[in-house]
Amino acid sequence: MRIQFIVNGRQVERETNAETRLLDLLREDLHLTGTKEGCGEGECGACTVLLDGRAVNSCLVLAPQVDGKEVLTIEGLAPLSKSHSRHSTGRAKGDELHPIQQAFVEKGAVQCGFCTPGFIMSTYALLEENPSPNDEEILSALEGNLCRCTGYTKIIEAVRYAAKLMREER
């Protein structure tokens, strides 16, 4: 079947079927490989994207279900940054970072990086809704994301810092 949807602000049209997950559609069809597959069953959050503004596991959404909807992936984040140019100083086009990404880098919240896109998308969903979350709110927003490397402390620090950067941007 043919579906139309918006991904990272761009309207796309694709032929797909009910055996394809949103995760496969993004990675294999659209080559947006920033979204990762960890468990494939809703436990790890590595595949987190925003669907109509809400964080979802793209491994649990079937491709036909996004017909007419809007998807945001890690690749679409940097262009949403309001001070986009400030963070991109000295960086080649395509290497610009969103403040959340910047915060994860600066605070050492990335080790192997496999979980990072998922954490960053969950963080984005949280900060869009709640620009000044307390620690409890941060933990609860990230409950569905697993990290095998960092021990989470640096990630929490990065989220606090990202919230600050984004508040300053506003």
């Binding site: 079947m1 079927n17 009910a18 055996e19 997950r21 494939g40 069953e41 809703g42 436990e43 959050g45 987190t48 669907l51 809400r54 964080a55 979802v56 596991n57 491994c59 649990l60 959404v61 079937l62 036909p64 279900q65 017909d67 969950s122 969903a125 949280l126 609860s140 927003a141 409950e143 569905g144 994301n145």
Partner: protein
């Protein structure tokens, strides 16, 4: 696999297609998609109800709240009437899954899935909630407790779907209680969980309702404990009796998460803990 997909635009369209061989209702997919990929289920026709407006409403009808089958858990958590009148549901849902799952998962989906560990059934049992089942022959209402027929089994007949959950608003004097024991706070299926609605004055129990998850083939009410405790004062001997009755009321299994005996002990302890709490306020 080779399944077909159809986003239905009306209940009529759903009913017509539900009669076809291998047809199955799809909503948030948090459970169904996993089961399809592991080969546990292989539907031939997926009928997606997640955008059906009639199923996406939370309605207050007199002394009841009707929750459409496609309302997500996140939407319930954000609903004013649910927050005000069904605080127990809020307590339970906020401890279930994680943001990503709650953004897709539904109460109806949890029920149809009929996992013994379906924690969202615990508050529904305590509320004496009903499910509304719709088929081409019309509609019927069934108590949630009668909807479960065993692990993974429900009273849904062929060609029928769960349209809504109907919850009678409980007496506001009943305070909510929910405790879940599991290995990881989020997501993980519980080892055992206990929910309660409790109205006490001093140490006098005016009314108590108790329900447990993961300790029997389906989530259950602990009626014998309730009968023993209703109208009584909390004493050490009542607590011990409640503990014993709770142990006897459940029939858990051994599985990879815990042994049957451990589960029995956990439920007995949670019940005792609830009544001890009354003495310590």
């Amino acid at each position: 696999m080779g399944q077909q997909y159809l986003k239905v635009n009306s209940i009529e369209e759903l009913l017509v297609n539900l009669d076809k061989p291998g047809a199955m209702v799809l909503c948030g997919g948090t459970d169904l998609v996993v089961k399809m990929r592991s080969g546990l289920l292989s539907p031939e026709l997926l009928l997606d109800i997640s955008d059906l407006p009639e199923l996406r409403e939370i309605r207050n009808i007199g002394s009841k709240i009707e929750i459409g089958a496609a309302v997500t858990q996140s939407e319930l958590l954000a609903s004013e009437i649910v927050r005000e009148r069904l605080p127990l549901l809020i307590t339970v849902l906020s401890q279930l899954g994680c943001v990503q799952i709650r953004n897709r998962g539904t109460l109806g989906g949890n029920l149809v899935n009929a996992s013994p560990a379906a924690d969202s059934a615990v508050p529904l049992l305590l509320f004496d909630a009903e499910v509304i089942l719709t088929g081409s022959q019309g509609e019927r209402r069934l108590a949630v407790k009668d909807f479960f027929r065993g692990p993974g089994k429900t009273a849904l007949s062929n060609g029928e779907f769960l349209r809504a959950v109907l919850i009678p608003l409980p007496n506001p004097k009943l305070s909510p209680f929910f405790h879940k024991i599991g290995r990881r706070k989020a997501l993980t299926i519980a080892i055992a969980s206990l929910g309660a609605l409790l109205h006490v004055e001093g140490d006098l129990i005016h009314e108590v309702r108790l329900a447990a998850g993961s300790v029997a083939p389906t989530p259950i009410r602990l009626r014998r404990v309730e009968e023993r405790a209703n109208g009584k004062r909390v004493t050490a001997s009542l607590i011990e009796e409640a503990r014993k009755l709770a142990r006897q009321s459940v029939s858990p299994i051994d599985d990879i998460r815990a042994s049957a005996d451990y589960r029995r002990t956990v439920i007995a302890d949670l019940v005792a803990h609830l009544f001890e709490g009354v003495l310590h306020v």
